[in-house]
Amino acid sequence: MEISQIIVNSLIRGAELSLLAIGLTMVYDILGFANFAHTEFAAFGAFLGFTFNSLLGINLLLSVVLAALLTGLIGILLDLSIFEKLRARNAKTLTMMIITMGMGIAIRNISRLIWTSSTKNFPMPLLQPLKILGARITRVQLGILFIAAISMVAFHLLLHHTKFGKALRAISDNKELARASAIDSAKMVQWMWFVAYSYAVIGGTMLAIEHLLYPRLGFDIIIPVFCAAILGGIGNPYGAVLGALTLGFAENVIISLDFGPLFSLGGLFDVGSLQLSTGYKPAISFMILILVLLIKPTGILGEN
């Protein structure tokens, strides 16, 4: 494969994963637990967007925005009805994590009940892919990269130039001090859920547009998304973006590498070309995850 093609594919994969990893890492940072339902809500939101777009005939961008807002609202409602009570009760973060796993099972199967297990395609116009430095890229993929870039900039501005962002960073730095400074942390936590799930829906929809939409999508991307967040340094949103891009590159490079020369020991044995079977593509993020945990569990941007 052309190097330029690897770069393009990696950038797209990285962009999609970043939007998902940001929310996961934020929830971990502020509330202290890993949310195993995160990617399930992304898939659920993608289904909502699909319904608005293909069944009600609403414009695609507007459908995604609507789905993101709705899923964000669900995030707030779940915080009010479940997590806030548990926090008040000083429940262990471990319990919260297991609750999110149960919630994830429920959401995934609710999608299955409503939209059935059959795979769905977003209706996309078929256009000739563009060629940039030898790499093929479709207009849809360009759109994905463009929207991902805008979303990242918006996230940065949100974190640094709004009251919400400043409050959130204050809570992240020191919970007690934030409370002493009259920051309404309950409200900020609700907004955080809203942002986390909205971003997840954008990322999830992009994955669904590029590949397929099906109820297990959320479960299938849970490992790469966690891997991205941990690789970048869990709790750090910029780390999550960096981790997602790194993972995107690693996946695409490993898939296109020919391990033949490595195992022939300099031409000693004739093993021919030896590539990783595509059936194992989902295992790459697991291997990288194990390596990170062995070498530097705090991730690229994490403190030691």
Binding site: I98, G102, I105, F286
Partner: protein
């Protein structure tokens, strides 16, 4: 006799899932190690035993023991990179490991026959007992459950069991008392692996046919439902949970006969109930149906 046969099948499955749930309970309930990939151990036990007996022609007893050992070894291996980390990392690495084992079973056709699965797995003593074979197998499973229950109870009542609870409740404290908590975590993953591997091997020889379809992540979620509903850090709770969840899971199959709903939708509805049960139990009755028995010591005067 279909009802009698079905009842025996159901009770045999209670036993297999009780073993499986006890293995998870040891790790989660006693040691607080969140394992979201327990199905990997079940699958390893099942495949190791089935392949050794079918392809290498070894005796079934050897197959079952090898299945347990393979699973226990995998537990050690998996605990190694995560032994010093927080439970969140255990959760994600075990979840991922479960998927990798399934991918291996699906892709390595030369060994596992891939999606076609392993067929004609021999059953113990099948030539000798033919008429009441299912009753015999049920009694065999029952004895295994009783032995494992006794061994696990001895283990958790011993100082080792108290070490596990200490790790769960206050790891730093038990470290400061000079306990090698990392070593204990590796050991508990190995023991949990042995038991889950045993459950898997017994499952394979009971079903006669296994394929990657039997080892979907769903199985892990089912046994999580069992220990959450039944009660953690209590082996009786794990067994009760296995009976409750398995009864619900199997009995809803018959609902399809009366309500016009496809099998896919039915299984979705079933899993929604299990997911919601997990969430509601953790909110409203976190200790489960059967409480953890806490030893009380008389106050010193």
């Amino acid at each position: 006799m279909p009802i009698a046969n079905f009842t025996i099948y159901l009770f045999t499955m209670f036993g297999i899932y009780a073993l499986f749930a006890m293995s998870l309970n040891l790790q989660v309930g006693y040691a607080g190690l969140v394992n979201f990939g327990q199905v990997a151990f079940f699958a390893l036990g099942a495949y190791t035993s089935a392949l050794l007996v079918v392809k290498a022609g070894l005796p079934i007893a050897v197959g079952i023991i090898a299945g347990m050992l393979a699973s226990g070894f995998f537990g050690c291996l998996l605990a190694w990179p995560t032994k010093s980390l927080k439970s969140d990392y255990w959760a994600i690495t075990t979840l991922a490991a479960g998927e990798v084992i399934r991918l291996f079973a699906l892709n390595e056709k030369w060994l596992t026959e891939g999606p076609f699965g392993v067929m004609n797995i021999p059953q113990p003593l099948e030539g000798l007992i033919d008429k009441y074979y299912n009753i015999f197998y049920f009694i065999f499973v029952l004895i295994v459950v009783a032995v494992v229950y006794m061994l696990l109870s001895m283990l958790t009542d011993s100082p080792f069991g108290r070490n596990l609870k200490a790790i769960r409740d206050a790891e730093d404290l038990s470290k400061s008392l000079g306990k090698n908590t990392q070593k204990i975590k590796v050991q508990v993953m190995a023991i949990g692996g042995l038991v889950a591997g045993l459950a898997g091997a017994i499952f394979a020889h009971y079903m006669v046919y296994i394929s990657p379809e039997n080892f979907r992540p769903l199985e892990t979620f089912l046994i999580w439902g069992m220990i959450i509903v039944g009660g953690r850090a209590n082996n009786r709770g794990a067994i009760l949970g296995a009976v409750v969840i398995q009864t619900f899971y199997v009995s809803t199959r018959f609902v399809g006969n009366y309500v016009p709903i496809g099998s896919d939708l039915m299984s979705a509805a079933r899993m929604i109930v299990i997911g919601l049960l997990m969430v509601s139990f953790l909110i409203f009755r976190p200790e489960g149906l059967l409480r953890e028995r806490k030893k009380t010591y008389p106050d010193e005067v």
